[in-house]
């Protein structure tokens, strides 16, 4: 039995659900929007074994029977069912405690969890994660974080191109530095900002699931391919891409080394075949890549969850 957690219509969850349906693997849904009809409890007995139950609208599941759990949770504080509730409402608290019970169980559950919360934390700081990525044999772009404009200008002089983006996991649009940016560079005195050398090459998104690897080449002239239409007026083109065995292995090792079961790894392969790793996304929206290429990522995920 698999446990799927999130909002069932959200594409990454919907795709893995379809894959499980196709293969006849039984699953239960932790539908966040139906929190009011769910109850969950777990206990830790002496020796550290973990057990418990999840009840969904009268159906009772033993937590020990879940062989895999896929977590794709939205922020429960902004669910439509509670967003108009006062901060101290009983309904809001009930919703929060249910989610907390789920995530706490997932941290210690002796089953396949995609992904546990703790190892996902490396994505909260890009330069921190870059230091971890280096330990797995990848190059990372030269990076400067500073509040001093003069250091940025010197950094610019030493590189053909420079981009800037958020330090944290908060989503930002990667931008190339231009002369116009120089005029407002002194503003970084208020908050240290991250600058990176621009690396020429082809973007490759690699999804790893256990030992399985799906690589997608992304063709675009945009600095941030997620916003290609906005930046260059045309959407990025995505195609399946075959990674060399050594690189596949490095990606799998990186994912496992970060404590993750499933990851979206952002690579750039330069014309002289150097491989830079920019980021490891621990909760990838893989459906975008699957729908553009037909790569069976959801099927791979379902297979992993089923323990195959």
């Amino acid at each position: 039995m698999i446990l799927l957690c999130g909002i069932p219509t959200e594409p990454p969850l919907a795709l893995v659900r379809e894959a499980l349906d196709e293969s006849g693997v039984p699953y239960a849904l932790f539908n966040q929007r139906q929190f009011s009809i769910m109850e969950m409890e777990f206990e830790i007995s002496n020796g550290g074994s973990v057990g418990g139950t999840l009840r969904v609208n009268g159906s009772r599941h033993r937590l020990e029977d879940f062989s895999g759990v896929y977590i794709r949770l939205m922020d429960d504080r902004v669910l439509p069912e509670v967003k108009n509730e006062p901060a101290d409402s009983a309904m809001r608290l009930r919703c929060r405690v249910l989610h907390d019970t789920l995530t706490r169980w997932c941290e210690i559950a002796p089953t396949r969890v995609v992904n546990r919360a703790s190892p996902m934390g490396s994505n909260s700081s890009k330069p921190y994660q870059a230091q971890l990525i280096q330990q797995y044999g990848f190059e990372v772009p030269e990076t400067l974080i500073t509040n001093e404009a003069e250091l940025v200008r010197e950094f610019q002089r030493n590189h053909k191109g420079v981009i800037y983006k958020s330090i944290s996991g908060m989503r930002s649009i990667v931008q190339t530095m231009t002369d116009e940016d120089d005029e407002r560079l002194e503003l970084i005195g208020w908050c240290p900002t991250q600058f990176q050398e621009f690396v020429e090459g082809m973007n490759v998104r690699v999804h790893t699931i256990g030992d399985e690897v799906f690589a997608t080449a992304v063709h675009t002239e945009a600095t941030d391919y997620r916003y290609a239409y906005r930046q260059v007026g045309d959407s990025a083109e995505l195609t399946g891409f075959e990674l060399p065995d050594e690189l596949r292995e490095k990606c799998v090792n990186l994912t496992k080394g970060l404590g993750l079961a499933f990851a979206g790894i952002d690579l750039k392969i330069t014309p002289d075949n150097r491989v830079y790793c920019f980021e490891v996304n621990p909760c990838p929206a893989y459906s975008y890549y699957e729908s553009n290429t037909g790569q069976p990522i959801a099927r791979g995920l379902a297979k992993y969850l089923a323990g195959n």
Binding site: E41, E107, V140, N147
Partner: protein
């Protein structure tokens, strides 16, 4: 140069600072969390040669990464009042937090405790995780149950194993050794094992003690009141930071449920 990184109101860190100075760590710089966001200059780089940090503190002190030999790190949060009320306050707060995690992780030398995403001075865990780890470490733990019907707002109230006011004793583990006398071997070994499993070199372990002979795990934390460890702890901290303890190996978390026995027997058996 050695660093003591802490909040200005961290009495325990002040105590350790004085004790370490007496033991010959010189120069030893005390850096307050409250001052760090106002640093005059931040320069944190990640290059092919690794990560580096140079910063100029508001009082003019220059902290160059290359000259740091070690640090006692007691930072728990990044003060963000200077940006919290600006239009991009939430974004700026996240940016400062991400920067702090990275530069603290990049500190050279021996760092007690090195920053993690779950805590700037070591991994903070929910009580359910500590109970699970303590149990695996062989410590006596009380029964633990968490339910969606508990209706405890953990943003306001800490989930506890014992009611406030229960008599407790705190032991300090440093680099695999428990400081203090009159501790049963099973507790001493369990605490050392817990520190190892948690990947936390300096760990406080609290026990409920309703009698002298009762030891029941109550909580653990990576930023304990170090005064419980007494002069023995200061000796050990100084020895580690001065490089005298050859056995020092920076810990990493050893146990997650994924490292336990494969659950392949639970496979649904369905073909995909």
């Amino acid at each position: 140069m050695w660093l003591v990184l802490c909040s200005a109101n961290d009495i325990s860190a002040q105590w350790a600072y004085q004790g370490l100075k007496r033991r010959g760590l010189d120069p030893l710089e005390m850096i307050y969390a409250e001052a760090l966001p106002f640093s005059l200059s931040w320069e944190h780089r990640v290059t092919a040669d690794g990560a580096s940090i140079n910063l100029t503190l508001p009082d003019g002190r220059l902290i160059e990464g290359g000259s740091i030999k070690g640090a006692l790190n007691r930072l728990i949060a990044v003060p963000s009042l200077q940006v919290a009320h600006s239009p991009d306050g939430e974004y700026a707060t996240q940016e400062f937090s991400a920067l702090f995690l990275s530069w603290l992780y990049a500190l050279p030398g021996r760092v007690i405790n090195r920053a993690t995403p779950q805590g700037l001075c070591g991994q903070w865990r929910q009580i359910s995780e500590w109970v699970w780890l303590a149990s695996r470490a062989g410590l006596p733990v009380p029964a633990f149950k968490q339910s969606s019907n508990d209706l405890i707002n953990e943003a306001v109230i800490e989930r506890r194993l014992f009611p406030m006011g229960t008599p407790t004793r705190t032991l300090i583990v440093i680099n695999g050794t428990v400081c203090g006398a009159n501790v049963p071997d099973v507790i001493r070994d369990g605490c050392a094992r817990l520190s190892e499993l948690a990947g936390t070199a300096l760990l406080g372990v609290e026990f409920a003690q309703r009698s002298d002979s009762e030891w029941l795990f109550a909580s653990a934390m990576p930023m304990p009141d170090m005064r419980y460890g007494g002069e023995e702890l200061l000796d050990r901290l100084a020895s580690i930071l001065l490089g005298e303890q050859e056995q020092w190996q920076e810990p990493t978390a050893r146990v997650s449920p994924d490292s336990l026995k494969s659950r392949s027997s639970l496979s649904t058996g369905a073909s995909l």
